[in-house]
């Protein structure tokens, strides 16, 4: 009887794993199969046009804009916040409040961020539907990611480095810049790369704050659409699965490169860590 149960469970484990892998292979395979025919130089670097499948260069540029702006704001803030929590704060009520807030931010679904961005950045601050409004919303979305990964990275810096440096008569700030942050760098970089992935994959929050204009943005105050939103819209509006899949390939490749980069950087820097 027990033997039978064991066999049954083992069978379930194999079946589940098989199912998961099969489904995921089918999805990725399907997207590549559907989309690869569209991908060529003109598709990637061409301007968008509503007839045919159009180029996606404006969407790539918009995506790069959102990545750049949100990271340039979120990265320093996130790192310094983590430094405060790990290196400066006395554990107590304030720290618990900050941790609680950070955790709660992680749990908020992106459509709520979208609502907030739409009323705060778009309307109240009068940015209008724009790249900047979307980027600021994304800043808040990735902030907790950067804080958490940086905190984890700081935790792995041996206490002996801090003591060793301070015992040499250096200030806390010098110790931070010369010893602690360099040692934590691989972890921090992985956090940043993770954030890029989050930004690239985001759709609902951007949809409500950047709008859907399918043209090259004039600047950060124009409305525009990112790759992910583009993929959504062409599916919803015209049922153009081929185009959506082609954009999907570009997205998957970007995610692949980011993952590769994250692994590479953390391996490389750990070695450079002597």
């Amino acid at each position: 009887m027990r033997k039978f149960k064991d066999h049954l469970l083992r069978g379930c484990l194999w079946a589940s794993a098989f199912l998961t892998v099969a489904v995921l292979i089918i999805i990725v395979g399907y997207i590549f199969y559907k989309g690869f025919r569209l991908i060529d130089f003109n598709f990637i670097f061409g301007d968008y046009s509503p007839v045919g499948h159009g180029g996606i260069w404006p969407m790539i540029v918009t995506t790069l804009y959102t990545i750049f702006i949100s990271l340039i704001i979120a990265t320093p803030i996130g790192i310094l916040a983590a430094v405060y929590l790990q290196e400066y704060a006395k554990q107590g009520r304030l720290v618990r409040l900050i941790r609680y807030a950070t955790e709660s931010l992680t749990g908020i679904p992106s459509i709520i961020y979208g609502l907030f961005g739409a009323v705060f950045f778009v309307t109240t601050l009068k940015f209008g539907m724009s790249i900047i409004a979307a980027s600021l919303t994304l800043t808040i979305i990735v902030l907790p990611v950067i804080i958490r990964t940086t905190e984890e990275a700081l935790k792995t810096v041996p206490q002996s480095y801090r003591e060793g440096s301070l015992a040499l008569g250096t200030t806390k700030l010098q110790t931070l810049y010369k010893v602690i942050l360099p040692s934590a760098m691989p972890g921090i970089l992985s956090g940043i790369i993770l954030s890029i992935g989050r930004i690239v994959g985001e759709s609902a929050a951007i949809f409500l704050t950047a709008g859907t204009v399918a043209a090259m943005p004039d600047g950060i105050f124009s409305s525009a659409r990112t790759l992910t939103v583009h993929s959504f819209l062409v599916t919803q509006e015209s049922g153009d699965i081929e185009l959506a899949a082609a954009v999907g390939i570009v997205l998957i490749v970007i995610i692949l490169i980011l993952n590769f980069l994250a692994t590479f950087i953390s391996k490389r820097l750990n070695k450079a860590d002597y």
Binding site: R2, D6, R10, C12, L13, W14, A15, S16, A17, L19, T20, V21, V23, L24, I27, Y30, P76, I77, L80, A81, Y84, Y88, A89, L97, I98, A101, T102, L105, I108, P109, I111, I112, G114, L115, F116, A118, V119, F120, I140, L143, P144, L173, G197, G201, S203, A204, F207, L208, T228, V229, S231, F232, T235, I241, A245, G248, L251, I255, L256, N259
Partner: protein
């Protein structure tokens, strides 16, 4: 001097996440509660109302609440067992070489934009349901459930696998030394030991499912009826917000924020329930 100043700057940066949270909660709640506080709309009518017709000033979201609830539950029922079993397989049973290929691939899939799952759903799952179940329209609650379940798989697998791998070797050895079978050891010793990590995996997967918007729009059908069967076309809460936010104004827009509040409370509640189940399972 510089030390003091920098300490302040760091503190300020840390406080920004508190400020952001307050701003978000404040704005959403302020906007969303306005119709009920200042315009005389009944909150109960909003929650239990069957009709959502903004042009006629009717704002009832009961069908959407039910749709969200069913979609999430359904995705959990399908996705959690398959995801957990896959995680257990990868961590405990799979040959090393196989796990080495599959684990990173699954992890990678946790990172691909969820919209793509929606695209796939619309292109494959919806026509499949339409043809095989003889539906007029394949966009349905069932399609939503399937897409969400697939979407949460990589997240659940990745997080749960990490948790299971973190269980110390000696637990397994202890159990095996007592004559337990390998499978028995996994389910009696290893999985319970990884319980909190597994719970975290479920919560994360759940968060992804319930908050998902754009992928759902593509496969839900978005009808405003109370779903009575898996094949009904549905409109979950998130979808309602995204579909109408673009042109809503005035009370209509505020009601979308109110929908957001309901979604918010929904997530808090589900997390709470899951945490409760998790802590009970431990005793």
């Amino acid at each position: 001097m510089l030390e003091k100043l920098s300490g302040r700057v760091f503190l300020f940066c840390a406080l920004l996440s508190v400020i952001s949270l307050l701003l978000i909660v404040g704005f959403v709640f302020y906007k969303g509660s306005h119709p009920f506080v200042a315009e005389g709309y009944s909150f109960l009518d909003f929650i239990f109302g069957m009709d959502w017709v903004p042009s006629e000033d009717k704002f009832g979201i009961f069908p959407m609440i039910v749709a969200s609830l069913f979609a999430t539950m359904g995705a959990l029922i399908l996705g959690v067992p398959v995801g957990l079993f896959t995680a257990i397989f990868l961590a405990e049973i799979a040959p090393k070489r196989v796990a080495k290929i599959i684990s990173p691939a699954v992890q990678l899939l946790a990172g691909i934009p969820s919209v793509l799952y929606g695209v796939f759903g619309l292109a494959i799952i919806v026509p499949f349901l339409q043809n095989n179940l003889g539906l007029v329209k394949g966009q349905s609650l069932l399609a939503v459930i399937l897409v969400l379940a697939i979407m949460m798989l990589p997240t659940i697998v990745t997080v749960a696998e990490t948790a299971i791998r973190a269980v110390p070797k000696m637990y397994r050895e202890g159990s095996l030394a007592l004559g337990a079978s390998p499978i028995g050891t996994i389910f009696k010793v290893v999985v319970p030991a990884a319980k909190s990590g597994i719970m975290a995996a479920i919560v994360l997967g759940l968060g992804r499912a319930i908050g998902e918007t754009m992928a759902v729009i593509l496969v839900a059908g978005n009808s405003l009826i109370l779903p009575t069967s898996l094949t009904d076309s549905v409109r979950p809460l998130t979808t309602n917000i995204a579909l109408e936010m673009g042109y809503a104004f005035g009370t209509h827009q505020e009601m979308l924020f109110a929908t957001g509040i309901v979604l918010f409370s929904f997530i808090l509640l589900l997390n709470f329930v899951l945490a409760k189940i998790g802590s009970k399972g431990g005793k």
